[in-house]
Amino acid sequence: MRRDDVRDKALGALLRRAAETAAEASEKVRSGGALGYGAAHLEGAVASPRHPRFSPGRFRVRIVGAAALAACLAAAIVVPALARFRADRELLSSAAEHLSRSLIRESSSFLAELPAASELEAAAADWAGSLFRTDIDL
């Protein structure tokens, strides 16, 4: 065997021992302190991955969570907005009522101040007479 091959093998053995040590430590952590966790457990884990990208159960939980969040948002935003809208409408309604009453009152006083119909007719005749003069010779 060439000298380089021997050195490569020694390097490989060192790397392998280091990797084994790290692998053992990880297996120990996973199995809660006891070595020999074994492939049987792993087989089960592979059959049903711990972190599946898509899981119907997790999907359902997310749907329910989203619905609950939407309900909370509705309660927090929509309900106060409705209450404000209702209060504004009542205010407007009372303002309109007040305004109409005032208008009616003003209209009544205006009508009361109007001159009688005969006076109006005389005023109109005067006004028409001023437009169509009769003392001019054509």
């Binding site: 490989g12 990797a19 040590t21 430590a25 492939a39």
Partner: protein, 199 residues
């Protein structure tokens, strides 16, 4: 794993899984390769695996999950181990990226790393501690090589993968694999010498 008599059975298991999602066949593959793939994960994760042994479990689990679909891309002429190691390697690299982003795990990592590094197997506490320290140094040296060099060196020298298999798995010409291996070994020896570790 080269020339292993089990390889024919492994290929058959891959075929059974691909043909009919035979869970027994997949479980047989996992049982057979788990120890070796665990070592590959440890080598790729490097010192992160020593800091947080739970990280290795996460990466390996992700590797197995990906394998469920990735096996469809397996070509029967190559060794199953090198193909599976490639899937685990990619899962490990992705896990490392995520771990780097989520530095919130640092505290957990320190706690678990300390537990993993000092308790050992319980058979010989002093020897275990020595092994753990050595493993730390070697994995830290591997870290400094970067990927894919550390994966190439590990799979070739520690797991006995052939240059042709590595070229196939890493999608690079055999000449490139050889030159990368030579450079990586030289660099790794230099780093180990700096750390006072002699192979």
């Amino acid at each position: 794993m080269n020339g292993d008599p089990g390889s024919a059975a492994d290929r058959e298991n891959v075929h059974r899984w691909n043909a009919g999602r035979d869970s027994e066949a997949f479980a047989a593959l996992v049982r057979r390769y788990d120890p070796a793939l665990r070592r590959v994960a440890a080598a790729v994760l490097g010192s992160a695996a020593r800091r947080d042994p739970g990280l290795l479990e996460d990466a390996l689990q992700e590797g197995y999950r990906r394998m469920l679909d990735a096996l469809r891309g397996y070509r029967a002429e190559s060794e199953p181990f090198v193909f599976l190691a490639g899937v685990v390697r990619r899962a490990c690299l992705d896990t490392l990226r995520k771990e780097t982003r989520a530095r919130g795990r640092t505290e957990r990592a320190a706690v678990l790393g300390a537990a993993g590094g000092t308790e050992g197997t319980g058979r010989d506490p002093a020897g275990d501690a020595e092994r753990a320290i050595l493993a730390d140094r070697v994995l830290a040296a591997l870290d400094r090589l970067g990927d894919p060099d550390r994966s190439l060196v590990y799979l070739r020298d520690a797991e006995g993968a052939s240059v042709a298999e590595l070229a196939d798995a890493f999608r690079m010409p055999e000449g490139t694999v050889k030159s990368r291996l030579a450079r990586a070994r030289t660099r790794l020896r230099g780093i180990l010498a700096e750390e006072g570790v002699e192979p």
